[in-house]
Point group: C2
Chain length 173, copies 2
DNA sequence: TATTGTTATACTCTATAACTATA
DNA sequence: TATAGTTATAGAGTATAACAATA
């Protein structure tokens, strides 16, 4: 192990635990979603994000930023969902470049159908060993981390930025 | 949204936050690892798990279970690492079926070289908005969740189990 | 008979770059 | 000139099933 570490062992352990827990949990729910709904976890996330949004709709780039997708990757996934009739795409009224994705009734139904089993898995795998107080603490800390992360440059901006930097040859740091 | 929910809103929010934070963080560190070490996050995890283990070595199945991999997937990744000279594979002494993977000096060097930048990213993305107390709490709760998850049937066992059940036709539930 | 690990294969997902169209 | 989104393409990763070898 390296020596000059600005990250103390407690932080490193928390970081590794976070990654392991996240991966194991994702794997468990992915299994459930495929078995019961024919959905990948990412497709479920897209549906869930839309269902939380006002009007069950959102713009492509906004969704991509929240779900760690390249825009082409999101196009791909949303196309699959649209083929399955779970979402619908329309041109944005305000900005004709934009595309608004809307959850269909069918999509909402599928979400409702999948949710109970989904929640059962999350309950069993994630929350069983936690007290109510633990859950509150966890939610609080993770919420603050998420808020912080959202202040960092988003993925779509990072791409544009990088392209921009490359073309500005005079911008040597 | 479904109605009969045994998962209260606070739990659901914590669950979604966990997934979003995990994905965003993984994306950030994956970028750093590829840029500075030519490693995917999973390859890094394999090296890290080995470096933590006694003697810098471990058995294939054990590593696979910790890292949420099918065994064939681990074979693939370990092969890549072995080609790159970062790990070495030997037949197990006790169990001739088994394969023991060992971190090479080169692998340790790469880990050391990549760690400072890695830790910088984790520090910046994950820990910036947290107090020491937050870190302690987070580590504690996540550690307990991980311990709980490890008591659940591991991936390799699940596969065997499933195969076993299918062959036992009398085992109708 | 069960378990370890590998191989072959097929598939899913993702990102990059080039492109179109609108702001 | 910059941004939204799509497409084509190519590559990485994963899992499944069949297999060989050992317990």
């Amino acid at each position: 192990m390296p020596d000059a570490t600005p990250l103390d062992p407690e932080q490193l352990a928390a970081y590794f635990a976070l990654m392991e827990v996240g991966n194991l949990l994702q794997h468990a729910v992915d299994q459930q979603l495929r078995d019961e709904g024919g959905l990948s976890f990412i497709q479920f996330q897209i549906l869930a994000v839309l269902s939380e949004a006002a009007g069950g709709r959102g713009r492509m780039t906004d969704v991509a930023d929240r779900l760690v997708h390249s825009r082409s990757g999101l196009t791909y996934q949303v196309s699959l969902l649209a083929e399955a009739g779970l979402v619908a795409k329309e041109a944005s009224a305000e900005d004709e470049r934009g595309v608004v994705v809307t959850l269909t009734a069918q999509g909402r139904d599928l979400l409702d159908r999948v949710m109970p089993g989904h929640i059962e898995v999350v309950q069993r795998v994630l929350f069983t060993p936690l007290s109510d107080r633990d859950v509150a603490e966890l939610g609080d800390v993770l919420g603050r981390i998420r808020a912080h992360m959202r202040t960092l440059p988003p993925r779509s901006a990072a791409l544009r930025r990088r392209r921009g930097e490359a073309s500005r040859a005079s911008d040597k740091r």
